[in-house]
């Protein structure tokens, strides 16, 4: 077993030739890729003919992991008798520095043969997808191999049966929560719309009705705020699975970060490759969404597809075909599903950024007359549809029930109870540095670029600085005079303010025109 002594270089090369190295922590965050660092003079490295960037298997005290090899020429990072591991890999090994470990060539993942068959145009079997996904979840694929899989499945588009196989394999790659109830409700939005924080309204409304809504969300990756980032303005969201289950039992709902639960881990790995590549095939998207929900134990699911010129889904026909695929795969997975297509022409609510979006949510819950009505209305629509999953709710009655729960203050009470249960946090101030962006034209707001506004909020510091972001003063259809304010930018630091200023000067994201130019909503809700 591991010793407690500080690790030092092993001077006798013949020793390390026999296969044992001492573990060392290397403080480099390589983000979802295990990296191992070996000294060029390490005898094992020379003997085994390892190559930089090849995959090796590291075994330490019964734990085995795969890592990509980097060769080091600086003994201050690792010495010849040591093997360094990047942060994530080190913690995965759960051993202490100096622990004895062994390394070996990692076998090539057999399932890459299936990927190569996909590349030449074959349809893959249920077993092929199981093998590929379990190898990816076990870190047996290099990032380039994952890219090969992602491209091959985007290029020869998967048929709906293959999407089902892929989804099922992704569910099996990790934990699966069983809530032991017959109706576990959840909601997912295809995304791309800033400020669209309906989950933080749905959960208290539905939980107040008595429905089980154990909502786990992601943090922002490329957006200025995820639901987890926004909820974190109000309370803790990083809860151990046991605590989360307690809260759900007591409150019927929660709003937590889902990253700890180990749900569909292969999905996280695939996303870390797909996103930078800008490849987002329908099949992968459906598998990603549905695998997370099934693993989280959901039985009933509402999916919101916003459509608009700067939303993720830009045309009605694309939305319809995505809906059919979601419905088919959902049914194969025994999910009760509703898919609705909504207006995605502009941000929802006023705030963009964690603290500003949390303010909007709380104003709606508090029935503040100045609360953003579009956020309230959308949340009630969605809540109504989910309530109708309840066999005791008559078709069409959901909206009214949701409105009653909200208007009566029961949703606010429930939200406060959830916030207290998760661990209330002190209020967060908006960014101290602000500047206003004004219109240089007179006319009607006929376009708000979701993507550009999100980018401005990010440059201003969101989501890292919770108080940073953008507060919208005008929405589609509003009249503006030249000189009227369009929105205010909040930043915490001078540099961020400067970055955001430069970006807004280049393109402020608003189009001012004639009322006749206003694009019609794809679905007037």
């Amino acid at each position: 077993m591991a010793t407690n002594e500080p690790s030092g270089p092993v001077s006798d090369a013949s020793d390390s030739r026999r296969g044992s190295l001492a573990l060392r922590w290397v403080g480099i965050d390589t983000y979802r890729e295990n990296v191992a660092y070996i000294h060029r003079d390490c005898a094992i490295y020379r003997a085994e003919g390892f190559q930089a960037l090849s995959k090796i298997a590291v075994t330490c005290g019964g734990v085995r992991l795969l890592a990509t090899l980097n060769v080091v020429d600086d003994a201050a990072i690792v010495s010849p008798g040591q093997l360094g591991l990047s942060e994530q890999a080190f913690s995965e090994l759960a051993a202490i520095e100096g622990a004895d470990l062994h390394i070996a060539h990692a076998e090539r993942p057999h399932s890459m043969d299936a990927v190569r068959r996909k590349i030449v145009g074959e349809r893959l079997s249920e077993q092929d997808y199981k093998n590929i996904i379990s190898d990816i979840a076990a870190h047996r694929f290099a990032k380039t191999e994952i890219a090969a899989f992602v491209v091959s499945t985007a290029q020869n588009e998967l048929d709906r049966e293959e999407v089902f196989y892929l989804t099922q394999a992704m569910v099996s790659s990790g934990q699966r929560i069983n809530w032991r109830e017959t109706l576990v409700a959840d909601k997912h939005c295809i995304g791309g719309i800033p400020g669209n924080r309906t989950s933080m309204l749905l959960v208290p409304i539905l939980a107040a009705h008595g429905m089980l809504v154990p909502k786990t969300s992601s943090r922002a990756i490329t957006s200025p705020a995820g639901t987890a980032d926004t909820m974190e303005v109000l309370c803790d969201v990083d809860l151990p699975l046991g605590r989360l289950q307690e809260i759900v039992r007591e409150q019927r709902g929660c709003l937590a970060w889902g990253g700890q639960a180990g749900l569909s881990p292969a999905d996280d790995i695939l996303i870390s490759v797909e996103r930078p590549l800008g490849i987002d095939s329908r099949g992968q998207m459906v598998a990603s969404i549905l695998s997370k929900k099934v693993a989280a134990g959901s039985t009933h699911l509402l999916i919101d597809i916003p459509v608009g010129p700067t939303a993720k889904v830009r045309h009605m026909d694309a939305a319809q075909s995505l809906r059919k695929l979601l419905e088919y795969v959902g049914q194969r997975l025994n999910l009760q599903m509703e898919v609705i297509i909504t207006d995605g022409r502009q941000p929802i609510g006023r705030g963009i950024g964690p603290a500003l979006e949390a303010r909007d949510v709380m104003m709606v819950l508090q029935n503040d007359p100045d609360a953003p009505q579009d956020l309230r209305q959308k949340a009630l629509n969605l809540a109504g549809r989910i309530l109708e999953f309840d066999p005791d709710v008559r078709g069409g009655a959901g909206f009214g029930i949701a409105r009653d729960i909200l208007d009566s203050g029961r949703a606010l009470t429930k939200m406060n109870a959830i916030i207290d249960a998760q661990g209330r946090r002190p209020p967060v101030a908006f960014g101290r540095r602000t500047f206003d962006v004004v219109s240089h034209q007179t006319g009607v707001v006929v376009g708000i670029d979701n993507f550009q506004l999100a980018r401005i909020a990010r440059y201003a510091g969101a989501p890292m600085d919770k108080g940073a972001g953008v507060d919208l003063y005008r929405k589609l259809g509003d009249r503006v005079e030249s000189g009227d304010m369009l929105y205010r930018v909040y930043a915490e630091y001078a540099a961020d303010e400067q970055f955001a200023r430069v970006l807004t000067a280049d393109n402020h994201g608003y189009t001012i025109g004639d009322l006749a130019d206003l694009p019609r909503a794809f679905v007037p809700s």
Copy 2:
């Protein structure tokens, strides 16, 4: 400009927010991928919203390069005011530690749009290939993006015009040598056959005839010896371009390592991704071979395609279609080309590994009666075909001329002159640790697995230990009794010997059977 003072942490965060960091060398070899290391507490990192593994642009004293970002939590590697660069990136910047540098988000390479068009099945234009390859050569693509390009071009197979565009773009990505002669001869073998060191015989034969043969070769990547590794047993091969040109002027030929000349650098980058993926499409292979040759200034080229059950090309029809594609693209590039298909059923010569292969070559040049006849015969065949590129050589007369040059000792004299010019090295002993592998059956050798024999030689230490490798005592068609020796393995270290022993015990690579089982040569030469 850079200062000479040792770099230290910049404690005033507001300073580094303004965009300047101090360069630091990080002794990690990340192999054809530039990696930049930034401390998590670096204010610029926080402010700009960089993400781990995103691409950044680093500017220092007028030089700009792109690198993948790794986030560091250990100030011993980089402190918050520094930016660390991996070894190759550091040397590319050609600055000293502590030099001022700036970083910015790298724009996504525009040519990834073309890759995404290829993924959805489009044929790409000449300009698309130019853009993609010049972005790859400038390190603007992440490895996953390169993988996406490689897979997309393998999946929707390139037409021959596209292969030409790709090849041309690869030539333009780097240096191109002009020898200022009308006949610059070269030879390439598709590979996969251990011991196939014909280049080391062709060069002295052709140069002795007076033909210009400036041969540059690669080192082994996955094989137990490349021509450069083998020549290095006899003399230096790592020569500056200027010196190489001098030698070629004096001797009419050379046998050098081609890695320094900057020929078709995009090819090296593509190979570093293709090879580990095991994706080797015809189009990429042809572009890789021909771009290197055109960049090296060749005008006349012989290509050898060995065919056999364990060669790289396994079927005659695949060899024929590869030949047509090579001929078409070669003609578009104004290369005079001969493509021949040869017997690739077993290793050529006896030795596998640098010193053992060099011994075979020298025995042939010395007209030693024990020299391996298959190596001699193949070299004479190829030399004859290349000699016939000479307008003064009658069709069919090449073989006789080559044999005369070899038999008369003129080839040996020329080889010694080239060795002396490049810098003769002291003799290399074979590995001190040996063991023999014997047959447990009686019969005829009907199969020798090229791949397994190469693997055994690698496990024994080749090419890193020049004396390591395998020496074959039996070839196809030879009779063996049970207990007869098949080959001897040479290793330098006990651990390597052990690795090789385990591998040979598992599969020694020979098949013993009936004379009738002997596969016929695809092309009886």
